[in-house]
């Protein structure tokens, strides 16, 4: 059995896995407590998200979506980490982290509107604790840190989680956020999805550190490295981090080693910087296939289930994209009115230029 590297210091660490690639439990101690229904729900969400991603790529090609960053391959990190949270916890996502905010309550059609540059996309419904996706790499890390301080000041036992990539872990804001969270002992989880590339730059050119998880040491917070293709490891790590946050034990940095099967965005060509062999190796670690094997062995999931969820997801995506397309267009005067709580006179006057 692999050793569990929950404490990260200066040696190379091995990432925590709970499931083997064949869907066998290899780390019983770290198996999260989940009912059969919960296990099925997690699988449902992962299959749904994969289908939605496939559809989104097509919709993008048809010009029906705007900027879209594919997620296939990262379902375990995205779905698992959100599933481990409570509804009251807060999510501050990067631009790729749309599944997390949708499963946390943002209606799917609004995610499509966001992609299409419609500001209603970011108009999160009351009671849904998420921010809209962040384009400036790292900025959201600081927002999560501030939101976590808000929870602490209000004496609420909630946590904030924020996501970035291996590239994002090089930003100054990342270090500033970790450091503040350490100083103020904030209930925040910094979740780095290390998918090996920042656009085209490989991890080896991103940092000379042995792992991103190591960077927690300098901030005086907890750092862990996990297998990001193993949804159960993700859930366990986030559950533990959330519990630490709720108990006043402070922040956690989680590095999840994962892979995105598609290029960085719809306008990139991954074959320019990734080899077929590498892609093949990671395909063999597909988080959905691995989890499916586990569930099939437990008699909780079949191929028919997958097919059924795919159909459901396709229908839902179609419905939601239509809803996005039918949403009234933004107007310049609406845009002008959204700059300030009450529109100053000079802006009122500028509306006249667009009548």
């Amino acid at each position: 059995m692999s050793k569990v590297p929950y404490e990260v210091y200066t040696e190379e660490v091995e990432a925590l896995s709970v499931l083997s690639p064949d869907g066998e439990i290899i780390n019983k101690d770290k198996l999260p407590k989940l009912t059969d229904d919960q296990l099925k729900e997690i699988m449902y969400r992962m299959v749904f998200t994969r289908t939605w991603d496939d559809r989104a790529v097509n919709l993008g090609r048809q010009g029906r979506l705007g900027f879209y960053a594919p997620v296939s391959g990262q379902e375990a990190t995205m779905i698992g980490s959100e599933y481990a949270l409570q509804k009251e916890d807060f999510i501050a996502p990067g631009y790729r982290d749309i599944p997390q905010i949708v499963w946390h309550g943002l209606p799917l059609y609004q995610a499509f509107l966001y992609s299409r540059g419609h500001q209603h996309g970011g108009q999160v419904p009351d009671g849904v604790n998420v921010l809209m996706p962040q384009i400036i790499i790292g900025a959201q890390i600081l927002h999560a840190m501030g939101i976590a301080m808000g929870f602490k000041l209000k004496k609420q036992k909630q946590v904030a989680i924020t996501y970035t990539g291996d590239g994002g872990s090089s930003e100054g804001d990342f270090y500033e956020g970790l450091n503040y969270a350490g100083v103020y002992k904030l209930p925040v989880i910094f979740f780095v999805q290390n998918n090996g590339y920042a656009i085209t730059t490989p991890f080896s050119k991103q940092t000379a550190a042995l792992s991103i998880a190591h960077k927690a040491v300098a901030a005086g917070i907890k750092g862990v490295k996990i297998d990001g293709m193993d949804v159960l490891a993700v859930i366990k790590a986030v559950q533990e981090a959330a519990e630490r946050g709720r108990n006043g034990e402070g922040a956690t940095l989680i590095e999840a080693v994962t892979y995105r099967f598609r290029p960085h965005s719809l306008s990139d060509d991954a074959s320019k910087y990734r080899s077929k062999e590498e892609e093949g190796e990671w395909n063999a670690k597909d988080p959905i296939a691995r989890f499916a094997k586990y569930l099939e062995k437990k008699g909780l999931w079949t191929e028919e289930d997958t097919a059924r969820v795919k159909e459901e997801a396709k229908a839902k995506v179609n419905e939601e994209i239509k809803k996005a397309e039918k949403t009234e267009k933004m107007t310049i005067s609406g845009l002008i009115d959204s700059m300030f709580e009450s529109t100053p006179k000079h802006l009122e006057e500028q509306k006249a230029d667009f009548k």
């Binding site: 501050a92 500001q119 209603h120 996309g121 970011g122 108009q123 999160v124 921010l131 809209m132 400036i136 900025a139 890390i141 600081l142 927002h143 999560a144 840190m145 501030g146 939101i147 976590a148 301080m149 808000g150 929870f151 000041l153 209000k154 904030a160 100054g172 804001d173 500033e176 956020g177 450091n179 503040y180 100083v183 845009l335 959204s338 700059m339 300030f340 709580e341 100053p344 006179k345 000079h346 802006l347």
Partner: protein, 326 residues
């Protein structure tokens, strides 16, 4: 009423708001225990506790981002950037994150933040401690930029800024912190953001200015009146974004001549914006072009020659004479 200098007036405003609203938080580098490098927040941590008034680690982007996150949580952060030259480290959080939160979220979240920073020349401070960067921020949509020129305004504008649900960048001139005392009410009152003040009435020419330059302009106006009987009207913008063009136009309708005085470098800044708006709204009332008296377009030369670099009464008088003789 009490006699206060501008620093005391700002501190008083912060105290009033900390007391009135438990959501107001004050933080930045060194603001807590000692009350900031200028002691502007002195005593406030003692009075309101370390949860409300606190020191941060030395990282400006994080100060800005902390403010944005707390704003989302319903707090009203007053975040200090220790000196103006260090706002660049925080500029993403101020000029991109805070300023467009309302837009990005379709109104779901806002940024009820005040970013405070000392700035302004003539005090022989270190490099990058004094530059006038208000024009840079004024070009940012979604943010208001305030530059008070006296204790009364400073307190009223600060209270208004804290109560405003949009981000306000509040610039405190170093040379005005201790310059003079004035009557300041001890209770709470506001001075409306975006509203200029006619600080001196006149009929011959209008000077539009803000911050320390209000006082330099008053010196020039006194001199012009004494030596030549010229009656200068002086408008203190108080808020450099948005600009109160109505007050300016009303004045120009009366005087038909104007100059704009700013400490900042000449090009593309607040003065240029004022003149552009005058051009749009009052050109037919003008008898002469509107001139600018400003710093030259160089880096700010801290210490050595700042006294000649900054606009002086003499340069202002020259500009006034030019527009009168045009």
């Amino acid at each position: 009423m009490a006699q206060m200098n501008m620093k005391e007036a700002i501190r008083d405003a912060l105290r009033v708001e900390l007391k009135r609203d438990p959501n107001v938080l004050l933080f930045g580098e060194d603001v807590g225990h000692v009350g900031g490098v200028f002691r502007a927040t002195e005593g406030l941590q003692k009075e309101f506790g370390e949860e409300r008034v606190f020191d941060t680690p030395l990282a400006e982007s994080a100060i800005g981002g902390l403010a944005v996150g707390l704003g989302v949580q319903g707090f009203r952060p007053v975040a200090e950037i220790q000196f103006v030259g260090f706002i660049f480290e925080a500029l993403d959080q101020m000029a991109i994150q805070a300023s467009r939160m309302r837009y990005r979220s379709g109104g779901r979240y806002n940024s009820p933040i005040v970013f405070r920073t000392p700035f302004g020349g003539g005090v022989k401070a270190a490099e990058l401690h004094t530059d006038s960067l208000e024009g840079l921020l004024a070009q940012t949509p979604g943010i208001k930029v305030v530059v008070p020129s006296n204790p009364y305004d400073a307190k009223g504008l600060m209270i208004a800024a804290i109560r405003d649900n949009d981000p306000v960048f509040f610039m405190e001139h170093l040379n005005l912190y201790h310059a003079f005392r004035a009557e300041v009410p001890e209770d709470d009152y506001t001075v409306e953001l975006g509203k200029a003040n006619v600080v001196r009435e006149g009929s011959d020419v209008t000077i539009i200015t803000y911050g320390l330059m209000v006082h330099t302009s008053v010196k020039a106006a006194d001199e012009l009146e004494k030596t030549k009987g010229i009656k200068v009207e002086i408008i203190d913008l108080r808020t450099v974004s948005p600009i109160d063009i109505d007050t300016i136009v009303a004045s120009i309708q009366k005087t038909n001549r104007a100059i704009v005085v700013q400490e900042a470098q000449k090009s593309s800044g607040v003065a240029a914006e004022v003149i552009a708006q005058i051009n749009e709204k009052a050109i037919l009332h003008l008898e002469a072009p509107v001139l600018r008296v400003a710093g030259p377009d160089t880096v700010y030369p801290f210490a050595q020659i700042e006294d000649t670099w900054l606009p002086t009464p003499t340069r202002i008088i020259d500009a006034v004479n030019k527009v009168l003789e045009f």
